[in-house]
């Protein structure tokens, strides 16, 4: 084919393609998906799962168009929502809000445009805006962790707790854990904030080890903290004698370890970054299913053990 012919073919093809999309746009169900730009590993996993879900859903339903937008801060997320309404004219919005307060009004405006609203993970400050709510279960995460502890240790045994960043999420997890552990005779020696981060996990655990001679188990609440905790335990040579660490979230390395029978981190408690995919599926179902879908979906904080670990293992995800 000559160059000229190629150009001509491309031009014709282009026009046809444009006509095709223009035609399809009128027919398509457009769903905007808005979430924060990843600043930590969990959010990166969430982004990855959103992209995977987009591919899967669009392959399954050619008439569904998912528009994914991530924003680095609450203000840009609010602007992104305006664009989704004015430029893309979305029929539904799936949003994982950066912060509840600053995004409540912008989401309300999207709702006024007639779009279906699905809120993920963090609730809005005003009730009744969202049609669908999908979230992990923070108190359940604490409770399940404590229940597992009680199966392994008992009366007179000592544990230490490494908490996250001082926030409502952290309090919910911690309070539920303490409530469940109460009356079991397990002593909580102390709890300190390790800010959901490996370095702080390492340093706080080093100090716990210097301070307490007898620790039987550690609740690290989060997989990143748990990595720091494990490094500190290994450094001090206190990783044997049935010592174990319980994290949370569902990081792929941790789950791989569970599949391989790691005794130091034998289980994990799920707080899935894939919840965004669940939310996208439910939102699509609102257009496709013959059953009702509006309502609140609280995902279980599943205990991940060697038996079920494979179901939660995504080797290609960044988290």
């Amino acid at each position: 084919m000559t160059v000229k012919a190629t150009v001509a073919a491309l031009a014709v093809g282009g026009v046809l393609a444009m006509a095709g999309t223009a035609f399809a746009q009128d027919e398509k169900i457009k769903i905007g998906v808005s979430y924060p730009t990843p600043t930590h590993a969990w959010a990166a996993g969430m982004n990855w799962h959103a992209e995977k879900a987009e591919e899967r859903i669009e392959a399954l339903y050619p008439d569904v168009d998912m528009i994914l937008v991530n924003s680095p801060d609450p203000a840009s997320q609010a602007s992104a929502l305006e664009d989704l309404v004015s430029v893309n004219q979305i029929d539904a919005l799936v949003i994982l809000p950066f912060e509840s307060d600053p995004l409540t009004d912008p989401v309300l405006n999207v709702k006024k445009s007639g779009a279906l609203i699905t809120v993920v993970d963090r609730g809005l400050s005003q009730p009744g805006i969202e049609d669908i709510y999908v979230a992990g279960n923070n108190p359940e995460l604490g409770r399940i962790s404590a229940q597992y502890m009680k199966t392994r240790i008992g009366e007179g045994d000592n544990i230490v707790i490494l908490r996250g960043i001082p926030t409502l999420i952290d309090n919910e997890r911690f309070d539920a854990f303490m409530e469940e552990i109460e009356g079991s005779g397990i002593n909580v020696l102390d709890h300190k904030h390790a800010n959901w981060n490996r370095d702080d996990g390492f340093e706080v655990m080093q100090d716990f080890l210097s301070r307490f001679d007898d620790i039987d188990a550690v609740w690290a609440q989060d997989d990143d903290i748990a990595i720091g905790v494990v490094a500190a335990l290994e450094q001090a040579g206190r990783d044997g004698d049935g010592m174990f660490v319980v994290g949370g979230a569902g990081m792929k390395e941790t789950i791989k370890g569970i599949m391989d029978g790691n005794e130091l981190v034998p289980v994990d408690v799920l707080y899935p970054p894939a919840m965004i995919a669940t939310a996208m599926d439910v939102t699509v179902a609102a257009f496709k299913s013959n059953g009702p879908v509006a309502g609140r979906y609280i995902l279980g904080a599943t205990l991940i053990t060697p038996e079920n670990a494979e179901d939660f293992y995504f080797p290609d995800s960044p988290f």
Partner: protein, 339 residues
């Protein structure tokens, strides 16, 4: 170090100088007494080595910051720089496994890579400040954002992890001891001694002080101001890269949350140590004590449940202010005659 500093100037103003140079040391001793009274395990051998090793990162970076600040500059990019250097180092080492294997050669290449990039990053900060005449605060605020987002980009928002096959080779750099002291502490010591000699015993050190006191006078005195100032940022970059080399083997990972606020900790260590923020007077010995004080505060707070977790920041803030107040009390007295 503080001792030789003292004898050097003993002839002149002994009584007033005492409190100024000894301020950070007194603060550190007080902290140790408090720590010991809260829990005797504080002075246990294990905890002391933990403390020293932990101080090494901030300490080494703060030695570099002492030069920058003494010469009247500031570098806000060090925390982000540490994160991006760690990230690049991990990526380089992981990709070299196929070529060079999992031995020392790969780790050495990673370290050399980190040093070259660290020095290069320092050079960029320095040249933008001196040649492009942009305020150091703005230049390094800019590079801080650039470095931080680069590491997020490289890690795809997640965490970069060193390949497990390399950890056996590299891990000892953080965890092994030599003559009773962990290797990071030796590096910290080496950097401190070299820094002290450079600042107090060479023409370069005197030029830094002169530029920090009055840049124009230094210029008229035929000091190559631009070259010296750029050199301080290069030293800073070199120090950050050294800190990175001993940081990476600890957990073998780098992410967007690596090194967050290290720049402020480094600057706080420098100022607690008695270096003047507006430049013209620098103390390496004080900087080292400053770094130790900062780490000790965090350590003590982990050793007690008397203070609410939510008040950790308050305690840290209070102690930093008191430590600086302790040494400023002496500074003010001397300042009247010296300025």
């Amino acid at each position: 170090m503080a001792h030789s500093d003292l004898t050097k100037e003993q002839g002149r103003t002994l009584p007033k100088l005492d409190l100024k140079t000894m301020g950070p040391a007194i603060a550190l001793i007080l902290l140790c007494i408090i720590g010991y009274s809260l829990n005797p395990a504080f002075l246990g051998e294990g905890n002391i080595t933990n403390l020293l090793t932990r101080s090494a990162f901030i300490g080494i970076i703060a030695v570099g910051a002492t030069f920058v600040i003494t010469a009247g500059g500031i570098d806000l990019s060090v925390g982000s720089m540490a994160a991006v250097l760690s990230g690049v180092m991990i990526m380089v080492m992981n990709s070299l496994i196929d070529v060079l294997g999992t031995g020392v050669a790969t780790v050495m290449t990673g370290c050399i890579c980190s040093l070259i990039l660290g020095i290069g990053a320092g050079m960029v900060n320095g040249l933008l400040t001196t040649k492009a005449k942009i305020e150091a605060f703005i230049v390094t605020l800019g590079t801080m954002g650039i470095f931080r987002s680069l590491v997020t980009y490289f890690a795809d928002g997640g965490t970069l992890s060193l390949d497990f096959s390399l950890r056996d080779t590299y891990r000892p750099v953080y965890y092994e001891s030599f003559g009773g002291l962990p290797i990071p502490v030796w590096v910290f010591l080496g950097v401190s001694v070299a820094g002290w000699i450079l600042l107090n015993r060479t023409a370069f050190g005197r030029y830094c002080t002169a530029i920090g006191s009055n840049e124009h006078v230094a210029q008229y005195s035929a000091i190559r101001v631009e070259r010296i100032k750029t050199a301080t940022y290069v030293i800073q970059g070199f120090c950050v890269s050294l800190a990175t080399i001993i940081y990476v083997p600890r957990l073998g990972s780098a992410s967007a949350s690596t090194g967050v606020l290290w720049e402020l900790e480094a600057i706080a260590a420098v100022i607690i140590g008695g270096t003047v923020l507006k430049g013209g007077y620098g103390r390496i010995g004080g900087t080292i004590l400053g770094a130790l004080i900062l780490t000790t505060i965090g350590n003590i707070l982990n050793f007690t449940d008397v203070i609410s977790n939510y008040l950790n920041g308050t305690m840290q803030g209070l102690i930093i202010i008191v430590a600086v107040w302790l040494q400023r009390a002496g500074w003010r007295g001397r300042g009247k005659t010296a300025d």
